[in-house]
Amino acid sequence: MLTRLFPWLNQGMAVLRKDLRIEFRTRYAYSALVMFAVTTLVTVSFSVGGFAPDTDIAAALLWIILFFSAMAGLSRTFVHEEETGTVIALKLAAEPEPVYLGKYFFNVALLFSLSILVVPMFLVMLNLDIAMPVAFVAIVFLGSLGLAGASTILAAIVAKAGAKGSLLTVLAFPILLPLLIGAISGTRSTMSGVSMELVTPDLGLLFFYNGIAVVASLLLFEYVWND
């Protein structure tokens, strides 16, 4: 396994570098992601009018914004390959697993850069204080990672299905539900401040969800990628 994992990772990094290069030149996915996040964020901020909402509601709002923004941008790389016809060249040159890994890394990079921008904005615009900053960052980190982990293979499915409108959101929601439940619960706890014991199960859930999503995707990706 290890002897195969390293070539997979190396080739996956080649895919990542290529996608990052294209993204820096076109800002095809990132602009969609950020515009979506900022508009929803401003709407939310306007509607609460500067009052800090309950942590219950704030936690749910944060993940609703992150979830829907992710859905707006994560399928772009696969759709782009299909639309421009580069998918044949890629399919012939690369094995499925490195392609999955490369696209997964790219989506992770995309979501991290989104979170770094959006989460502080969210906290500032809604006047929120975080009682447990370190645990909060860990929750946001693992949550964003999981959003990318489960969505990448779904994005490939959506691209093959002809990239119909909101298909990714529909497909991803039930699969991401355990992750969202854990992330919202963890965010709520770390915002209001509870003992660490109550946050650990949420962190554990997010960690294992990430593992399951990536391993399951690796197992199934070749069936999506190869006709």
Partner: protein, 119 residues
């Protein structure tokens, strides 16, 4: 992918699956203990059972003592009629907030004994 890679991945899947399964309980079940309710200021669902002979009835409201899953006993206040089978129930769930040593329940759910016997 070679058969061997698949086996390794399946094994990893099982490992993560077991881990996830052990950690999901608290995230998914809405039912908590009084200790948790005391710590968090939000509305929660506490599960436990009523203690016989502790019901006190006032106008339009009543209160009773309830033991949660950890064995902690707290008095629960509720406005409205007493639900059927409150004391015979296997389990009850009170939904509300903890404040000043007592629990104010907005609603009470009763789990009936799982015996399917004729009335």
């Amino acid at each position: 992918m070679k058969r061997y890679d698949k086996l390794v991945l399946l094994l990893l899947l099982v490992v993560f699956g077991v881990g996830g399964y052990r950690s999901i309980s608290s995230a998914l079940t809405p039912y908590v203990t009084f200790a948790y309710a005391e710590e968090s200021s939000r509305s929660v669902q506490v599960k436990g059972y009523g203690i016989d002979g502790t019901i006190q009835i006032d106008e339009n409201s009543f209160s009773f003592e309830m033991e949660d899953m950890d064995g902690k006993v707290v008095r629960v206040f509720h406005k409205g009629p007493i639900p059927q089978n409150l004391m015979e129930a296997d389990n009850i769930v009170v939904v509300g907030k903890y404040a000043d040593g007592g629990f104010t329940a907005q609603r009470i759910l009763v789990k009936c004994p799982s015996k399917y016997e004729a009335q």
